[in-house]
Symmetry: C2
Subunit: 194 residues, 2 copies
Amino acid sequence: MSEDPRVGRSRAIILAAAHEHFVRHGYLGANVDTIAAEAGVSKRTVYNIYGDKESLFRAVLERAFEISERFTRELADGMGGDLEDIAVRLVRAVLGPRVLPLRRMLIGEAGRFPELAREYYERAPGLVMRSLAAHLPAQPGLRIDDPAIAAEHFAFLVLGAPLDRGLFDPDVPADPVARALAGVAAFRRAYEDR
Amino acid sequence: MSEDPRVGRSRAIILAAAHEHFVRHGYLGANVDTIAAEAGVSKRTVYNIYGDKESLFRAVLERAFEISERFTRELADGMGGDLEDIAVRLVRAVLGPRVLPLRRMLIGEAGRFPELAREYYERAPGLVMRSLAAHLPAQPGLRIDDPAIAAEHFAFLVLGAPLDRGLFDPDVPADPVARALAGVAAFRRAYEDR
DNA sequence: CAGAACATGCACTGACGAGTGCAGTAGTGC
DNA sequence: GCACTACTGCACTCGTCAGTGCATGTTCTG
């Protein structure tokens, strides 16, 4: 009655290869034959498990969203520290190689799969915003009237510029951490209680 | 010796239709037959003028970049006013229907055409940043040590959040102008001279 | 008005890629 | 060891789409 282990194994391998490939080439640019080859699996197996290209794509993203969400929650758990600490963790996460390429791809596919792009936004960046809004008021020495706005200001002071730049250019921009700290400093000046 | 007016006319019509279509569907999703039909021109004419799909794509973007650049310069000319004025103009421009969809498409194609994405960044968002950096120090009552950083802070306080949201979701976010003004207020607090 | 240059319509080629069918093989549960 | 189920390899269909060739019609230019 329990599932044949071969299926689970194939599912995992295919999902990993497909994620890599879809993120790199986008939905239309992706090639199921190539995905199968990169997964070291026959094309027939891909189709036996996932049915068609679009279902595979959705399965890849469902898994990617879960991971992003879990990752974001871990990030939120570390929001007890000081602002500089939060900023550095945020920057490292969002500008890292697991997030930026996924963002690029989803934005590019937003016309074809609008509900997926929206869902991602809710489950990752949106969640970051909500977490920040929940934690910022507990920071000492700050005066925060509107937590949602303050969260946006914090996030975009810290990583707005390199994020936007990074969407257009895969080459990492110069030392995002220094900018993040400059962003935190500006945020403190804007929101200090005086 | 001067050019046949038919060619110029066709060029313009095709470019407009192709722009619309490429921005909507991306490079791979675009269809030359459809572009020709939407332009009200035969497919053969498209190929006679532009040679192939990629050349047409590049021609579309070359024109789009010129327009963006010109538009940005006009925006920069209005940077003598106060911050609130600059912010509102900036928001209206960047979050408008001529910019956001183009950005989405270019980000999605950044893997396939990296040099085009980079070029766009330089000629539009990068130019905005440089213009801001050049004008902000002239604002009264502010103390600006690093104009480049201050420009980034201004820009992303003003439109960071709705811009990022807008990349994932075509539906206009609520009231970006109010947010822009809240961003300006935060910027003033962070950079006021005291 | 004559000839050149461009536009049209349409049929066509060729490549590529999604998805299928099937016969054979190998791993799995009992 | 047996029956079952999944995986493989490969050949195949079918649709789509970029790009071409050509004969005919239309619009410039001189």
